[in-house]
Symmetry: C2
Subunit: 295 residues, 2 copies
């Protein structure tokens, strides 16, 4: 399967993201307008053949440069982490008393993925947590994952956003072998950085590295040597969220690769249906997925 | 109150509209991409001081020129008219047997306004019709309208979209005096033209003119002499839909002016709250309004 491309819908979404981000980056409406103008000039120059997260690197760098604000989502990230940390004990209790703690932890890790300020949906984390126990992933390869985990000694866990990172931690605690958590190197949207992992205490339960990028995903050709070495050593990959899926859904060969995500746009929902080998339209926008990559 | 401006959110909305329209205008994805590129070049050049409908004239002309398709919404307009015509007898029966037929006709005319392919919401007309009898306008100046209609001899009715035009006809049948229905001169989104009025039989119950523009609203400085003469002669104006509201909400003086609309974006909802003199936030996106302009 070919790598994901930046579709026309993605351009519209990126323009909308530019406005959201401009408003977080600066209070000056004049500067916000300039950011939108420069974004409009950038959009036609993006490479259709690259995935949306790869193209978004240029957009977010542009906004950071124009606004002088390298981390517009800093406050939202902090609030997301703190909110999730307040829920941590309650969720941990729900997991440990569940019939299948691993499965329940996965459901929470996927539900936590709703926290993403780059996506076009509002969210309510508390409601999501209540709902997530009732939701069944539209694609659910849990049985295979459980089997594959039996032999796993080195697990690579690709993190996504702040906030949900706390629930990633609760899942990582239940994984066998050694876990390496790969986050982003520099601020990009509300994606978690190694500093967030430390803040949320994940550095105490696993090895934390960055993938070397400021991409809201995992574009292998841009990733650091350290990250590539971790990829080469691992015998199972867990990939969280849309951005990692968008940059990795075309991977072939390699160790078992599991995508845990909530779909937040119709383009990704369609791609997920295709990637799972199901008929188009099986996966809807807003679905949760626990999906093993079919190589 | 100052004329409505094109806000940054409106630019994002126009870009989204460009993609929707490009897809209707041509099957060539290459051409669709070119339309989005040219739209991106246009957006920073739009005048922030003009209303969104006025600025959208340039956008829709650009798409018509690039695609060679002067009326991308032709099929949707036809389907909208036909759908509404099939519902006509059922709605007319509901109106004539209602406790207050005029009020019920107004509710239907407002609910019909949901049919607008320029707006970011999906719609379901049948469901809307069932719902509309249960919905109370968030701002409801019906008592004043009834009073003002008593002395009215010349009513100017500013139409909006195809489809809802049929329900406009059912309301116009109940209005006193002479009614002039003003539509658009040339194709713009799914706005009704005089030809649509003829198709839906409205030419038999009122005088039908155009406002002389290809604007999805009523920008007075661009309107024809015929339309301006109709404005000068009227003693009550009924204005349907968002586009007319966006281009006329700042009017001061003149005859009583009533806006009948469903709000389809947060910017218009906020403006409507301000125009009604209520505290901001009173009108929500998706509300229906029957609102007399406060001069």
């Amino acid at each position: 399967m070919k790598p994901m491309r930046t579709e026309l819908d993605c351009l519209v979404c990126l323009y909308r993201q530019a406005l959201n981000t401009a408003r977080l980056a600066t209070n000056s409406t004049k500067l916000q307008r300039r950011i939108l103008s420069e974004t409009a000039a950038l959009l036609p120059r993006l490479a259709p053949g690259l995935s949306p997260p790869e193209n978004s690197i240029r957009l977010y760098r542009l906004i950071a440069r124009l606004s002088g604000n390298p981390d517009p989502y800093a406050e939202l990230k902090k609030a997301g982490n703190e909110h999730a940390l307040r829920l941590r004990d309650r969720v941990k209790e729900l997991i440990s008393t569940a019939h299948d703690p691993l499965y329940t932890a996965i459901l929470f890790a996927i539900a936590g993925n709703i926290i993403d300020h780059g996506a076009p949906r509002d969210f309510d984390l508390d409601q999501t947590i209540d709902e997530c126990l009732r939701r069944t992933p539209a694609i659910n390869d849990y049985a295979q994952l459980k089997e594959d985990l039996k032999g796993a000694k080195n697990i690579l866990y690709l993190g996504d956003n702040c906030g949900e990172l706390v629930f990633d931690g609760l899942l990582i605690e239940l994984l066998p072998g050694m876990v390496t958590l790969a986050l982003k190197e520099k601020p990009i949207i509300n994606d978690a950085l190694p500093a967030d992992a430390k803040l949320c205490g994940l550095d105490k339960i696993c090895r934390v590295i960055s993938n070397g990028t400021d991409c809201p995903g995992t574009p292998l050709n841009l990733c650091s040597e350290e990250f590539k070495a971790a990829m080469a050593e691992t015998d199972l990959i867990i990939s969280k969220g849309q951005g990692n899926f968008e940059t990795l859904s075309h991977l072939s060969g390699g160790p078992p690769l599991y995508f845990l995500l909530t779909t937040k746009c119709p383009i990704v929902a369609q791609r997920a249906g295709e990637a799972a080998g199901t008929a188009a339209g099986i996966v809807n926008n807003g679905d949760t997925l626990l999906m093993r990559a079919r190589f």
